[in-house]
């Protein structure tokens, strides 16, 4: 793979290192940064995130990164909480206004018979629309999910997964993508998605 630069937005959550290790395994240079200039200059931007929506948004605001993320023209990938923050709002923490880069709202996954929350483990992807990010990823392949909130399937959903209801697993709006699962912990499927993000999605 061409050695592209990836800015991994340091939103202060834990476990951000795992995403950078995954990118390094693919030969990419990933820098964990909260510096607006570094983020703007990168070929690719990843917004990771583990934790809660309110704290995540607060850190982005405090770091002056909300505008930076809005202005990006290069491909942006939100992972897990990072994907949820791309939406307009999340029901977490009593309701949080998010980045609004992708239309729609994130809601809590309802507990039901046989439906445990958090949704934790390897679940099957259902590819709904072809996309460069999903090159080589087939319906039925499994990715590792860990979350209690989720985006319902909508017009931006590229792939879904089923846990009680159907939920967005991969979304796209323009040059913004999101993965609800953890590609860095999803073995070959996750590596494929990250590699596609580096090499298959268009630069413009």
């Amino acid at each position: 793979m061409s050695a592209r630069t990836v800015a991994l937005v340091d939103s202060g959550g834990t476990n951000i290192g795992s995403v950078s290790y995954a990118l390094e395994r693919l030969g990419a240079r990933a820098a964990l940064t909260s510096d607006p200039a570094t983020i703007r200059a990168a070929d690719r931007v990843v917004l990771p995130g583990v934790g809660a929506a309110a704290a995540g948004m607060e850190r982005l605001r405090a770091g002056g990164l909300v505008e930076v993320l809005h202005e990006l023209e290069q491909p942006l990938l939100g992972v897990c909480l990072g994907m949820q923050l791309l939406f307009e709002s999340s029901a977490e923490d009593g309701g949080v206004a998010c980045l609004g880069l992708i239309p729609g709202a994130v809601v809590r996954i309802p507990v039901g018979p046989g439906v445990r929350v958090p949704h934790m483990g390897w679940n099957a992807l259902e590819v709904l629309r072809p996309d460069p990010l999903l090159h080589g990823v087939a319906s039925g392949e499994r990715a590792y999910f860990v979350h209690s909130y989720a985006a319902p399937v909508g017009s931006t959903t590229l792939a879904s997964t089923r846990h009680g209801g159907d939920w967005s697993a991969v979304v796209r709006s323009g040059n913004r993508w999101g993965a609800q699962f953890h590609p860095e912990r999803s073995a070959d499927v996750g590596a494929r998605l990250l590699r596609n993000f580096m090499t298959e999605v268009s630069d413009d």
Partner: protein, 263 residues
Amino acid sequence: MTLARRIIPCLDVREGRVVKGTRFRDHVDMGDIVELAGRYRDEGADELVFYDITASPEGRRVDVGWVTRVAREIDIPFCVAGGIRSVEDARAVLHAGADKISVNTPATQRPALVSELASAFGVQCVVVGVDSLRDDDGQWRIRQLTGSPEATRALSTTTLEWVRRVQELGAGEIVLNCMGSDGVRAGYDIEQLSAVRQVCHVPLIASGGAGAAEHFAAVFATADVDGALAASVFHSGAVPIPALKEQLHDAGLVVRRTAGVRR
């Protein structure tokens, strides 16, 4: 239901090496942690648990050096257990790249630890390990300090009460170690796991008793657990994971089938 039942090997770690043996002596070196973790990953393990057997009884913190090494190399989720007594301990392990941390005895000594961890990192990172044994009156009750037989203490809290309580406090997953069946390899304690399942709305992982592939099929089908943890049957090769996955699939259970096996 499309979520796969998880197969979870547990590895004991001592000073950055995987060991086996009794918890305090006669450790046999099994090999390099990254090498063994990679082997299990390739065989199709869905997740790994590393139990730091030095940190817990000796009151030491987990050495995050090996956590970082594993996080760099491994592309499946892993949990670190043993030696986590505070938010700061947990933060070090999670920052090093662990996906989850598991607390057991420290939660029984100070239950607020569970809520502190959940508010600091989110419930999805917080696993509560529960050591449970049936008492003479027929009730299952929790135990603490189970790392050594001499130190183990029985508590008055019933297992069902404790499982309810830790969920309220913020446990995102529960590993129920059924001590009565542990090490016997005669199968998981399906009666107990089924009872706990009734009160457990977060993922529940069975631990203790696996001796053969049928035991996994039985605990998934009957106790409806989300994952099954085992150590010796995987380490010894008695239950190879690829064959286990196929057997579970053939029994109608949803599993993640991986490379080396038809998809």
